[in-house]
Symmetry: C2
Subunit: 571 residues, 2 copies
């Protein structure tokens, strides 16, 4: 147990809570939802992958899919708002009001686990188990993706060294290397040193595996064949004439798909209350589309009345992309959105100083909460533009006062928005019953989901729609190669696809220091490039970090394991 807190009582940490629960065999957990033991590839007793033929059968059998509930959040703060906790807790809460529900979340990346973030498997009494496995190697999907990504890099540089038959321009390689580790010094490197034997020296860099197009490809594929076709289309470089060179051109399609054969199968585990949870895929939401795999969503929504799924960061990033990209590719329609807010995050956005003083957020300050509501309101309006009903979940933390929480609820009611306090961290599903009831009420309301833009409008119009409608910009300016990029992509006929914006998650705007709901600003787009495998165009705005670093005291430094295998410091 952890040291006693100020009140003298001992508060167990997430790992201790997780260890205190008796897990059921995963085959027993999923059996009521129509998956047999033969449908599973077991990895121990508590983790399994679902076989592809079982997915085909399940999705073919079911006529009506279940209701789809997306969980997103207000603009993230360093304090954490509890989006995954709310997703897991809401899924559990459905079972307290006699609704079948499944959960789908992204799988953690080792980088953040050893950095600042710690685990990403929910927390308290709303977490997925076994949390230590899920936060470490889990079923090896991230490792398979890292290998697949780097096999492409290796074959590419080997092609260049072995005569460069495709005439690849070494300064136009746009396939970096990948690592699942917050290893800052690999951001910018020079490779190929050492003379003739090792090949051509060139500038290179590493990105986090979660930021790789390979991750996006895996999460958008709906079959092994589709995965293979997406891999084959990935653009890895340009030749001296400026023509794209694909993964297929360097013969990487087959071996890369082989490496991803098992990673494609969704993983299923259980929550602390025994609700099945799919934990599969984890693309960045600030450079890719930011939601778990389409296959997990399609399978889960075919098996259950309700599917609760989570998108990364705020409505401007993961949720916008879920609506405009994922739902379009997967022919899905969300029936309700849960928007996670916290008193602390509202105070953060309501505080009038930069950089924010986190200590100042501790004392009760209803005024500061109210000033932060501008951020929440903008996210509500964003989501309403897709024609889907919104429910605000106020995820309660220990220091929050009743007055502060009530101020948020009252504000939402005044605007005609459903809202509920959520105590799923401390109370599990029971703490989310009111939220679940509101979500059911919203999801059963007929809705009129529409993506925000049509695919056949010009690239610039799509970017400008997102910038003005979602981010609240006055307009868009194009710098760097952006204008040329757009012209070239349009000429190549690669303009009728969705746009995946690459933008900071720290602000609704492209400036991480702007809190609340910034106005009077223009979005600056510096580059537009195709993620041809994923099937979208990425528009870069500002600096987006694709390989984080460790802080001065990394979480790793406090982790330990004893001779019996008991882990400490992994929360």
């Amino acid at each position: 147990m952890s040291p006693p807190d100020e009140s003298g009582s001992s508060i167990p940490n997430d790992y201790e809570i997780a260890q205190s629960v008796e897990k059921r065999h995963i085959a027993d957990v999923v059996e009521p939802f129509g998956l047999d033991r033969e449908d599973l590839e077991l990895q121990g007793e508590y983790k399994a992958k679902v076989k592809l033929d079982a997915i085909e059968r399940a999705t073919a059998e079911k006529e009506d899919d279940g209701k789809l509930v997306l969980v997103t959040g207000m603009t993230p703060t360093p304090l954490g708002e509890g989006k995954t906790v709310t997703t897991v807790g809401l899924g559990q809460a459905f079972n307290h009001i006699d609704k079948d529900a499944l959960i789908a979340i992204r799988e953690p990346s080792l980088g953040p686990v050893f950095g600042v973030k710690g685990g990403a498997a929910g927390g308290g009494w709303s977490q997925v188990l076994p949390m230590e496995d899920i936060n470490l190697h889990f079923t090896g999907d991230l490792h398979a993706l890292t290998s697949a990504h780097n096999l492409v890099s290796t074959m590419l540089d080997n092609h260049i060294k072995q005569g460069n038959e495709l005439d690849i321009a070494v300064n136009w390689v746009n396939w970096p290397r990948a690592i699942d580790m917050n290893d800052r010094v690999l951001r910018e490197t020079v490779v190929g040193l050492g003379g003739d034997v090792t090949g051509i020296p060139r500038e290179d860099g590493f990105i986090l595996t979660a930021a790789s197009e390979m991750m996006a490809v895996l999460c958008l594929a709906d079959s092994l064949q589709d995965l293979k076709e997406r891999v084959s289309r990935i653009i890895v470089a340009y030749d001296e004439d400026g023509e794209p060179v694909t993964a297929d051109d360097i013969d990487a399609t087959g071996p890369v798909t082989i490496l991803l054969r098992d990673a494609l199968k969704p993983n299923v585990v259980q929550t602390i209350e025994g609700t099945p949870a799919f934990v599969h895929g984890g693309p960045f939401a600030n450079i890719a589309h930011g939601t778990n795999s389409l296959m997990a969503d399609e399978l889960a929504s075919s098996l259950s009345e309700y599917l609760v799924t989570e998108a990364g960061f705020g409505s401007d990033l993961g949720a916008e992309k879920f609506m405009n990209i994922v739902c379009r590719f997967g022919e899905m329609e969300p029936d309700a959105v849960t928007l996670v807010a916290s008193v602390r995050a509202l105070k953060y956005h309501g505080q009038e100083m930069w950089p924010p003083d986190l200590d100042e957020l501790e004392a009760e300050d209803v005024g500061m909460v109210r000033r932060g509501l501008a951020n929440l309101d903008k996210h509500v309006r964003n989501l309403q533009k897709f024609g889907v009903p919104v429910v605000v979940a106020v995820n309660r933390f220990p220091g929050d006062t009743d007055a502060e929480v009530q101020a948020v609820i009252d504000h939402c009611k005044d605007l005609g928005i459903r809202a509920a306090e959520s105590n799923v961290f401390s109370d599990g599903g029971e703490g989310g019953v009111e939220l679940a009831e509101q979500v059911v009420d919203a999801a059963e309301t007929p809705s009129d989901f529409t993506p925000l833009y049509d695919l056949d409008v010009p690239i610039k119009q799509k970017i400008e729609t997102i910038a003005t409608e979602i981010y609240g910009a006055d307009g868009v300016e194009y710098h760097g190669s952006a204008e040329d990029d757009i012209e070239r992509l349009t000429d190549h006929g690669f303009d009728d696809v969705p746009i995946c914006m690459s933008k900071t998650f720290h602000s609704l705007s492209d400036d991480p220091s702007k809190k609340g709901a910034p106005d009077d600003w223009t979005l600056e787009v510096t580059e537009v490039y195709p993620s041809a495998g994923a099937g979208f165009l990425v528009a870069l705005t500002g600096d987006v970090l694709t390989l984080p670093g460790l802080p001065s005291e990394p979480a790793a430094a406090n982790m330990d394991i004893d001779a019996d295998g008991t882990i400490s410091g992994l929360f």
Copy 2:
């Protein structure tokens, strides 16, 4: 099926043979050897890890360990001699002569699988299954090792960036990064470019995961606690005063051990005839000790009458290290050694030209075979020096003639050496019955195993013993930092450990172009450094490649997978 050969019949490849066999549930495979289902962590139906408490129980219960048979080979040639095939086939053959036997081999690395080598799971009717899983991600051990290795690198560079409290000298970092991919351009790199934000630029490089000390540490650890202690001792850099900085000094012990928690548990699979095979760990034999994990060996020899285990490369590398390092650490004694030879390899060593002409080896040429016997004889003499009986296995290939095979057998008999033809590739265990009988005869002969040197003699004496007794050198010359290294290591009291020679595997000498049994030469040692976690000193001789590259036509380029998941091109 593959295309018909010249005779018009269709020869199935390894993958096709593997697919034609009905595998049994792995729990049923190991049950006769005393492992229950509860002792296993299943990964699907055909792969499992053995839980650590089951290993403790099994090794504590058994009073007499089974007989230990080491398989090694003559100096490797590009043609492949079939050492793993012989290991697997011999293990199977024991069951044809009413002896219980288990097998222990190393796990493949992805690098070679996608390069030239193809799979490393045996072949024909002597392979381990499921070969495609074993050759790809298997149970994730290699990935865990890569992550563990790179977490150390990341924490080290982060320490330097965040103030460098330990005063680490950036030019004295001796912990490279690791990757499990034959990615030549990563051999020599510069990292940390991009200015203040990313840290201090420095020269760096990547090694193959199998060449990492982390792999050696995993394979020599005999418990979780021992693993942790070995990790803590790894020397990752030196400070400005020349004092060693360990993994523990940078707080990496705990998180690294956590990452290796599951990788430490031996993997068990089955051969094509249903014999249990442990496939666990795969250190390079030219820079590390080159045999599978000690834990797998200890477990397997406690469960069975016979354990057949394999060492990398020839008697000069894997076998010498197994005898002098692994047996010493594990308190094991080999009862017999099987030395794998092939007619083609003998011809290769008997051919009087450089570079060798591989086409010239196809026609019958008993004279050329006889000229190559000098290499075989030297390996025999090397092994006899350890006091263990030797059995030569002539692994027969389709083109070998009876006269060629008989010439080898006769030669051995003339020298009083046990020898047998082996047809385990084409005939499975049945093809190795004569070999197995000879091995039993040898193993039941009382032997007098002794390591070649005592640990308490000076470092130079140990190096010189290996050089003269095993390699056939006239003596040793020390260049570069070697003299200083030896003096410093002796002063630090790190001189009473075994020596792990880093030497080319292409020759008994340190010159890869010297075939046969070279004489009249002097071994040149350029550097001696401690692998403090593994518990030995590494002596570098010549250039040893720690990160291979892909050939102009990598094996990967011919691999494919169809929509049903059937793989081709992975042999």
